[in-house]
């Protein structure tokens, strides 16, 4: 009992402070982007900001519970959590509700619950548990495969539920695998695939293939003392070939029209001015309005509740995925940089604390937390700023939404608990 009390006192106050700052900022900005009349009434739950405040209170409460639970509980039950979460995900096929095409919501009372947000936690726990197991060797292909399975099963389910955005988040766990010693080849392969895919789309598959194969040939021609030169050249070249033409094939035949358009916009593929104009009215509309809103904020912003584009609801979904444009318009460059710095400090702080963990489980879990937060931060703000493709995932703690806020809070709370426990290990 005495030990537990001590644990709570050892919580990392930097992270807690950053959390509350972001939370307050989030509710404030949702108020701004969803306010309709003059009066602010937090008790009226038909207002988005009232709901968000309620979610915030629930999150704090659940976070407090998560912090109070024994570390061993998370470690021991992680595989069960994982399995339960997969079953819940599968249940969506039976009881799920479609919102904007994605089958990822349980309607509960007047609220919708998005289980995929919570799966991030269970996968993180499962990955941590598996890697921290003393029997696991990341150099072992068998173990690698099992690990990949843990990550890919939920990805596949979620993709089938047509929620591609959420599934991309799980790829961030490769940062964890890399940190924990998975072969560098994987990282190189992933980067190569991404670059080859982009080049194939931007230039053309055949050009990309011929250029990359010539690179491979030149590399191996000058490099001596390589065994099975021919086999390596052939296998690498065919991998290139598959990647490049596979990209084009899936782009042409598998991707849906709107997904194709997002890529077109991102890589600037569309050259037909008529179609660009059409896109400006449809998929580019959000992006343009969001950029205009941010741009109009200037150095110091128009002031809280003074953003004309925010008040006019010019940016659709501004309270959820495009919340950062409110920050940009009303708080300006200084405010936006402040938020970016909050995230940066939060993520780096988590990484720093993870590195200091004596318990491997805690360290891996910390890394998972940092990676998941980072990929949300990168994709969401990148999208709002027009740098990354349009992928609808929330900005942690700022975007409107109960499931994501509660899930991110739990994710962070569990790490706080694990971190707070480090002195008591052994």
């Amino acid at each position: 009992m005495i030990g537990q009390r001590k644990n709570i006192l050892k919580l990392d106050w930097v992270i807690i402070l950053l959390y509350f700052l972001l939370l307050a900022f989030g509710v404030g900005n949702i108020l701004s982007s969803s306010i309709s009349g003059e009066e602010v009434n937090f008790l009226d739950l038909s207002n988005l900001y009232s709901k968000q405040l309620l979610y915030a209170l629930i999150s704090i409460f659940l976070g407090f519970i998560a912090i109070s639970i024994e570390v061993k509980f998370y470690e021991r039950f992680s595989s069960i959590f994982y399995l339960i979460s997969l079953i819940v995900l599968l249940c969506l096929f039976l009881f799920g509700k479609r919102v904007n095409g994605a089958l990822s919501w349980f309607p509960i009372g007047g609220f919708n619950l998005q289980p995929s947000e919570f799966v991030k936690i269970t996968v993180a726990l499962a990955v941590s548990k598996y890697i921290s197991d003393f029997q696991t060797d990341l150099k072992n292909t068998n173990d690698q495969l099992k690990l990949f399975l843990i990550i890919f099963i939920p990805i596949i389910i979620i993709v089938f539920q047509n929620d591609t955005g959420s599934s991309i988040v799980f790829f961030s766990l490769f940062f964890v695998l890399y940190r924990e010693g998975i072969s560098q080849n994987y990282v190189e392969a992933i980067f190569s695939i991404i670059i080859l895919a982009i080049l194939s789309l931007k230039l053309s598959a055949s050009v990309t293939v011929s250029v990359s194969i010539s690179f491979i040939l030149i590399y191996y021609l000058f490099k001596r003392k390589v065994r099975n030169k021919i086999i390596k050249i052939i296998s690498l070249s065919s991998l290139c070939l598959i990647t490049c033409f596979g990209t084009i094939y899936s782009y042409d035949n598998i991707l849906r029209n709107h997904q194709k358009n997002y890529i077109k916009v991102w890589l600037n593929l569309e050259k037909d001015p008529n179609k660009i104009k059409q896109m400006e009215r449809t998929i580019l509309y959000n992006l343009n309005e969001s950029k205009k809103a941010i741009s109009s904020g200037g150095l110091t912003g128009k002031g809280y509740l003074k953003g004309t584009r925010t008040m006019g609801n010019f940016v659709p979904a501004q309270h959820s995925d495009y919340i950062f444009s409110t920050v940009g318009e009303e708080w300006g460059f200084f405010g936006s940089v402040f938020i970016i710095l909050l995230y940066t400090i939060l993520i780096i702080r988590i990484i720093y604390l993870s590195e200091n963990q004596k318990n491997k489980f805690s360290r891996v879990y910390g890394y998972c937390t940092a990676s998941i937060l980072f990929i949300h931060f990168m994709i969401n703000i990148g999208m709002v700023l027009g740098l990354t493709p349009t992928i609808g995932i929330p900005l942690p703690f700022l975007s409107y939404g109960g499931s994501s806020l509660i899930a991110f809070t739990l994710l962070l709370s569990i790490f706080l608990r694990l971190d707070g426990n480090k002195k008591n290990e052994w």
Binding site: K291, G297, G312, N313, F333, V337, Y367, A370, F374
Partner: protein, 621 residues
Amino acid sequence: MRKTLLILIVISTSLVFILRLYYLQVYATEPYSIYEDNAIRKVFTYPKRGYIYDRNNNLLVSNQPSYDVMIIPGLVKELDTTEFCKLLKISKDYFDNKIERTKRYSTRIPSVFLAHLSKEDYGFLAEKIRKYDGFYIQKRNLRQYNTTIGANVLGYVAEVNRSNLEKDNYYSQGDIIGKQGVELSYEKYLRGEKGIKFIQKDRFNRDIGSFNDGLNDINSIAGNDLTITIDSELQEYGELLMSNKKGAIVAIEPSSGELLTLVSAPSYNPNLLVGRERSKNYFELYQDSIYKPLLDKGLLSTFPAGSPFKVIVGLIALEEEVISEKSTIFCKGQYIYGRNKKSMKCQCGGGYRNIYNAISESCNSYFADIYRKTISKNNEISDNFNSWSESVKSFGLGNYLNNDLPIGKKGMIPTSEFYDRWYPDFRWGPTTNLSNSIGQGEILVTPIQLANMIAAVANKGFYYTPHIIKKIEGDSIPTRFKEKKTIDIEKKYFDIIEVGLSKVYESGTGKLLNIPGIEICGKSGTAENFTKINGKKTQLTDHSIFVAYAPKNNPQIAIAVLVENGYYGSTWAGRISSLMIEKYLKGNISNQRIENLVINKSLDDEYQKPFSNKPFKINKL
């Protein structure tokens, strides 16, 4: 490396974001302007349009609020149509038709559903209309005329058209602009300065309230009130006298050039061009091709000056010293001239004529003779004619007066070049255009020019440009109306002519037109005029013309009257001149019989003649 990769990526991502934000928010932006923000609707607020007063401070034109029921079809919900129609006093057909049409125009932009509610209806509806989604009442400012006269002077306002918008970027669609008369001439003073209200829109272009609590709004500046030179009582009296007659009365205060009246008959009630019936009324007025009520005859009718022109011919002959006050000729009832012994008729009765009784009896022979002498002096016909023409023009004839009325006509005073073109062999002389001497021929004038001419005679050698503006609130009137225009003829010659003009009333053509207690100087005239019927030039009954000023020793009013097809100058125009002078100087009329005679006289049968498709006779009493 494995430990630091994620940290490096996080930091570099943040840096890229910050750079991107710097580019978007600081580098690539123009300073924020509320005017260019398309999330803010800029709504103009319209100030009070300036009032118009007459010279005696009677309010002629003010403003009245008008209430329109507006509709935003997209917001209209199910409603009890019968009850709604009853409330607005409209038919079901009107309702259906209007809904259909406004919907076709736009479902989001407000349109007028029912224009110009009465004040009583407004009071009744203001509360009830809130029950119906998509409908609201909008207030607009209309002109209110507190008079029924002077429509041609006051002009009217209407919505701007495309050419107004192109010419002046002050205006925007739906603004009101002066279209005619004073409303047009002094638009810049009357309109004031629009204000701007900033309203926050949402992305569906809907208003969601005032922006920044209205702190950025710009207040409008009220228009300046105007005082015009018109004496509304005299104007009203003039319009009454011109009942059932076509023509014009222009009265000027000679000492200032202020227009006391500018009657164009027939006119129309200015209230006809306000409100719900406006376009219907306008069309009706526009269609009247016989009386042409929209045409300002005081400014736009041109006709041969007739006998009043003899005043100028006499003055120039005296100045050129081709005659003296003692010169006499014998009139044989006609004037024979030229190689072919052509003759010009004279109805003065014959006998010895000097400048005095030539004017009073309007002797054609006398003026034909002195005109010949003036033009053929020293045998420099072309030069003489041009200098004669210049002298005539110095009375304000033959060109625009450059006054503050938006319309006008030049009239016509020929020069030698004009006749050179007609007679390419240059064989023309005073006998070729002898009818100029009696104001016929090529001489064309407008009523306002004629009034100005007689004002210059009253002043004995100068005039001020006739103008309509007396006072502008907060500004002074244009300086050009304060500049004396002098005529290069000695005052003593004017004195001589004045004796003749006075004699008109003692013994001449105007001896029946005297007003007890007022010494009037005047000159009657008739002007031949023609029209085309089925392409054939046809002569109509002469115009009745009269010019006069009074009192003789201190002229306070100079007047020109034109009664179209009224025949003898003294019959109608002369009577009207005298009545107007008496009204202005005394305020009441001594001879009610004449007044009633004038008011009740209708010349309608004359005006119908050219349209009757039957042969007709002219110049019958």
